[in-house]
């Protein structure tokens, strides 16, 4: 084996087995089950997992809570939809462009909110998303107002292939974010999270890394948002709504902030729960949101961060992988 490959395999070895398990399970199930309904449910779960993980790379690693995440999701959804409908761009082009735009706006918003902390940062993000939400109604001639934009070109020819495209995106996002979070970027973000002044005293340009995380967060959310819009062939104000932002926050937090794998689980499992509650359709949303509140109350740091997980060597290894240090010799 070449050293490069050996390095990659040894690195993969330190990644959480739980992640592999759930990705594999999600990859295998649709192929063996014939149930289209299940596949559609899982597609939604995968979408939310992408959102939750993308949210985590910023908030989980800096502890500045982004409450306006729908900005990137809906922003990319609308942009991709508009490019598709008005300029006849194929999704293969409009989605990456929209995601790029989301990433760039991440740079912008990240830069503008650099000096804000705590509640001020959070409310600013809420405000940005709120502005975009309002604009979607004001500019109803382009955005279709309440109705949104319909008739978007679908991703592929069928729900199963749609799912696998989403699945591949999720796998990509998962590994990229995990790699990023375990690289020097993640270490620096954690340092900033602990104490930004001390990070500065170590010669780190903290502003750069914060903006970078914001941009990455936006980029991946944009990918998720664009794919989602085309999977539904529709985009509407709900993709820009405060409810969506809050939902993503809850999914990621219940899973476990700051771990990437936590939000993966949170996104997938809670979305499946949401669907499972369809048996009581009339009350479903109410029960679902109520349960989310209960979960947050019981485990404010999230499942993966619970004491009983962290302190048990088996559970810790399964969910969080092996600890890797990033001293100068391992090339961080």
């Amino acid at each position: 084996m070449s050293t490069g490959l050996r390095k990659i395999t040894s690195r993969l070895f330190t990644y959480p087995p739980a992640g592999f398990v759930i990705l594999a399970a999600l990859g295998i199930y649709p192929a063996v089950s014939g149930n289209i309904l299940h596949v559609e449910i899982l597609l939604l779960a995968v979408v939310y997992a992408i959102f939750a993980m993308s949210w985590d790379i910023l908030t989980g690693y800096t502890h500045e809570v982004n409450f306006g995440f729908a900005f990137f999701i809906g922003g990319a959804g609308y942009l991709s939809g508009a490019l598709n409908i008005f300029l006849a761009f194929p999704p293969a082009l409009s989605i990456p462009l929209a995601a790029l735009a989301a990433g760039v706006s991440g740079i912008l918003i990240g830069y503008l909110t650099l000096r804000l902390k705590g509640p001020y940062f959070s409310m600013a993000t809420l405000a940005f998303a709120g502005i975009l939400y309002k604009l979607s109604f004001i500019l109803y001639k382009i955005t279709g107002g309440e109705e949104g934009i319909s008739g978007l070109k679908s991703l592929t020819s069928g729900p199963v292939t749609d799912f696998y495209l989403m699945w591949m995106a999720m796998v990509g996002v998962y590994f990229l974010l995990l790699f990023y979070s375990r690289s020097k970027h993640g270490t620096i973000l954690k340092a900033i999270r602990a104490d930004e002044d001390v990070a500065q005293s170590s010669g780190i340009n903290t502003a750069y890394y914060k903006v970078e995380a914001f941009a990455l967060s936006g980029l991946f959310a944009g990918i998720g948002g664009g794919l989602y819009a085309h999977a539904q062939m529709h985009t509407g104000p709900v993709m820009l709504s405060g409810s969506l932002s809050v939902l993503v926050v809850l999914l990621a937090m219940i899973g476990g902030m700051g771990t990437i794998v936590g939000p993966l689980f949170g996104g997938i499992l809670l979305s499946i729960l949401n669907e499972a509650l369809r048996v009581v359709e009339a009350y479903r949303i109410v029960i679902y949101t109520g349960l989310l509140i209960v979960f947050i109350y019981l485990a404010p740091q999230g499942f993966v961060n619970l004491d009983f997980v962290r302190q048990s060597p088996w559970l810790k290894r399964f969910f969080l992988g092996k600890e890797v240090s990033h001293g100068p010799s391992s090339g961080g």
Binding site: H63, V65, F67, L112, T113, R115, L116, K117, G118, P119, Y120, S122, M123, A124, L126, A127, F128, G130, I131, K134, F137, I138, D197, G242, S243, V246, L247, V249, L250, M253, A282, Y283, I285, V286, T289, G290, L292, I293, I296, Y297, P300
Partner: protein, 287 residues
Amino acid sequence: MDILVIGMVRGALYSLLAVGFVLIFSVGGILNLAHGTFYMLGAYFTFIFYSLVFRSGQSGTLISSLILAVISVSVFACLVYQVLLRKKIESLVYTMVMTLALALFVSEIMSLLFGVSGTSVPSLVEGSLSISGVKVIQHQLIILPITGLILPALWLFLKKTKMGQSIDAVSQHRTGALLMGVNVEKATLVTSGLSAGLAALAGALIAPISSVVPEMWLFPLIKAFAIAILGGMGSLTGSIIASFVLGYAEVLTSFLIDEQLTEMVSLVVIVFVLLFKPSGIMGYKAA
């Protein structure tokens, strides 16, 4: 002239909303993202008490419904504080997320119970007046004297009563008040109820002349925050002034530019103040 009146009414309404928000933040350190929800519940509960409990057309019952609504929302807020928030109040992330999740939850319940298109509540005072040629709904004018009574009453409460003074002490210096023997938790509990009650009152007053829908929690929250940062997160007088500033800004935008942009004003205020106001928020490490 009409702008003057309408702006004043709006400012008065906003001051009820904002004062509570600032109060609970300076006393409990809680950025209560469910504040808009209490506003919304004020409206919905008024409807519930009025149409379901009393079922009569007299003004008296309407007033009682309003009062009951305000009281029940206050009690609800106290429960929320006691059960959900008290445990982890030091974590700002937790209180923000929990109150926001609560807002979502209540919104969905209202949606379930009353539907998405909203309900309606009759006015306290029917009819409209003509003030220098402009039709003004009489009910709107009622808001002014009510606010004019409530706010000074609040001031008296904070300055003259024992509980009020404890609350005042805590808002200025939590640890100091604790050391002086003030029961900080009790003060925070009372403030939660008080703050929610004010918001509920605003919601109840606005119910007859505005749509009562499940999403009506978000923008009052945003506006409360905009006013709070405009007026200073710790200053009640500041927030009252800022309430009128925002009220007039919105009315002017509505009349002079575009009615649709009214809701944007508060958002833009937030963005501008947070991004360009240079003091205090940008922390240098203390010496």
